[in-house]
Amino acid sequence: MTATGTDTLLAVEDLTLELDAAQGTAHILRGVSMSVPRGRTLGIVGESGSGKSMLLRTVLGLTPAGARVGGAMSFDGEDLSALHPEARRTMLGRRVGVVFQNPMTSLNPVRTIGAQMAEAVRFHQKLSKAQARDVSVDLLDQVGIVNPRQRIRDFPHQFSGGMRQRVMIAMALTCSPDLLIADEATTALDVTVQKGILDLLQRIQEERRMSMILVSHDLSVVAGRTDDVIVMYGGRIVDRRATSALFTPPVHPYTRALMLAIPRLDMEAHTRLPALGGNPPSVFDPLLSPAEADERDARRWATISSDIVEPGDVVDPDEERIFRPEPVVPGSEIGAVGTLAAEQQAGVAEGGDRDVAVDTIFEDVARDADAEEGTR
């Protein structure tokens, strides 16, 4: 993926991020390449520590002091690495809007919403205070704040969590951004509020034909709302495709593992969930070549089971219940969502037969996948 072509708004090439810590060098990003086309929505999914948030912070120049950044980044054809950090922040500040998870840490608690909005508006446009207020009111109206002319006199604590997040979206829109980044923007919200915010982001993105990056630890948040998805693991991108093709074979083994571990609304009570064993790679792991990293990761991705014992918990070699990875059908033989769901549901198989169950599930799935090939 290179930064060529006018369709690409943001391009990142072989990005690395290192930070020295007491435990040694943390390799937070280990060669990430990706691009965001104009007018499209990209989802970034990964578990904690996968590097998804640091990827965006690095692009925005918000890296911690002492961090070493390598690789190339360009925005709208301009080479970001060549710009002075100050110039880069100014440029991106005018063209990229960001909404973070916790609005209370982004908003000043002792200033009114109106004052903070007007400040942002006047930072981007030469306007009088009265004009800035009108722009603020209009933006708050666009994000669904009822009675915005009154509400701009309120302080952040007078807004609910969902309303504060709407205010943050309005502030992110003050610069009329080309790219809107929502970093876990709906994570702490109730489901009905979350749906409202995701609907709002989608509507704004479509109306303004912006590019958008939706970052979440939750595959289901990203699944229905994006054009493309990248899946991060251990500071690398391990899966990248059109969202609509996320679960069409060959399904990436890690994406598949994530999907299998998520409970479903149509599951039976007391279903056991197949999950990855062990822990994801540490940022302090030594640098590996992509091939070596693939090999190491593939080993863990093959350890899906619903056993409750994890490696590292048991040290006594004579201990009866040592963690034993279960054999897994290669991802390429697994069908689309429907089949994956069947596979996950099969994991239900009444508790007692767990050990047997995992083996047979995958055989069944392989058989089902074969049988269904003709119809897909």
Partner: protein
């Protein structure tokens, strides 16, 4: 504590073989900005070996209800009975015995642990309070840890900060298990965990429930997690239960508009998960008016009955 003088009538649908019964439980708190009536007349029961899911959005009173079961603090009015005994009437000695049979697991295990204590002492704390002899103590700690898939030899000497979030949550499960409970209230036990870790902790809870014949009250905002864990589900809204019934029945044929609204809002990977059907038959005033629960399918109740005002009249 109630000022109601006549004996409250016991809700008709409570079952005699229940392990835990909440009857018309109210919880109110005095705060700087006035009185908050967090739980307004919650009635349900849990049978031995049964898991009841309590689901709802923040502020609906689900956590307060869970805590009222363990008297952390107890209800302002109404009764919580455990094994047929009203918890409020118990002497302190009997209460201590009941507490052993009632345990709780919290969302953030790290803040529930003393950071300076070792795992072995964290898990053994309840045993020490009970006065379990030294000779028996280690075996019971080891057995509790083994039940959550950990070994005393491997983790006993570690301190909380040396453990991952998933390991911490399993240790808090072991701590609850060590004293031999009949029922565990789980308050958002997987809310801050990554999906693989969440799956493992849920599996551990399923395993210990099955092995020990435990009852669980599983409090969560996550409807899919609740579905996987629960035999029955109660949906809470503004301090009241708006729908309660067998989990399958509630998720497949939700009766209350709020339940349907919640289900519609859940993000899913696979649209085929959305299995519910049915049209609204509630009045439009469900947000502002409390209605009585009526049974529409076997054991499946929804707040679609007559308007009730009891919610606001408690001291």
């Amino acid at each position: 504590m109630s000022t109601v003088t006549d004996t409250p009538t016991r809700a008709a649908w409570l079952r005699d073989d229940a392990l835990l019964t909440l009857d018309d439980v109210h919880c109110a708190f005095k705060t700087a900005s006035g009185r908050v009536h967090a739980v307004r007349g919650v009635t349900f029961d849990v049978r031995p070996g049964e898991t009841l899911g309590l689901v709802g959005e923040s502020g609906c009173g689900k956590t307060t209800t869970g805590r009222a079961i363990l008297r952390l603090p107890g209800p302002t009015s109404g009764t919580v009975s455990f094994r047929g005994e009203d918890m409020e009437s118990l002497s302190s000695g009997r209460m201590r015995a009941a507490r052993r049979k009632l345990q709780m697991i919290f969302q953030d295990p790290l803040s529930a642990f003393n950071p300076r204590r070792k795992v072995v002492d964290i898990v053994g704390e309840g045993l020490d309070i009970q006065g379990v002899p030294r000779s028996e103590r280690t075996d019971r700690i080891a057995a509790a840890l083994e039940q959550v898939g950990m070994s005393l030899a491997a983790v006993g000497d570690r301190r909380p900060h040396e453990l991952s979030g998933g390991q911490c949550q399993r240790i808090s499960i072991a701590r609850a298990l060590a004293v031999g409970p009949d029922l565990i209230v789980c308050d958002e036990p997987v809310a801050s965990l990554d999906v693989s870790v969440q799956a493992r902790v849920l599996n551990v809870l399923q395993e210990i429930r099955e092995r020990n014949g435990l009852s669980l009250v599983f409090v969560s905002h996550d409807l899919a997690v609740v579905k996987v864990m629960s035999d029955r589900v109660a949906v809470m809204y503004r301090g009241r239960i708006v729908e309660i019934g067998p989990a399958d029945s509630v998720y497949r044929t939700p009766l209350h508009p709020y339940t349907r609204r919640l289900l519609d809002a859940v993000p899913v990977i696979d649209p085929a998960e959305r299995v519910w059907t049915g049209a609204d038959d509630a009045e439009d005033d469900w947000r502002t008016v409390d209605r009585a629960l009526v049974e529409r399918a076997p054991g499946h109740f929804a707040a679609l009955g007559e308007i009730v005002h009891d919610g606001e009249q408690v001291p």
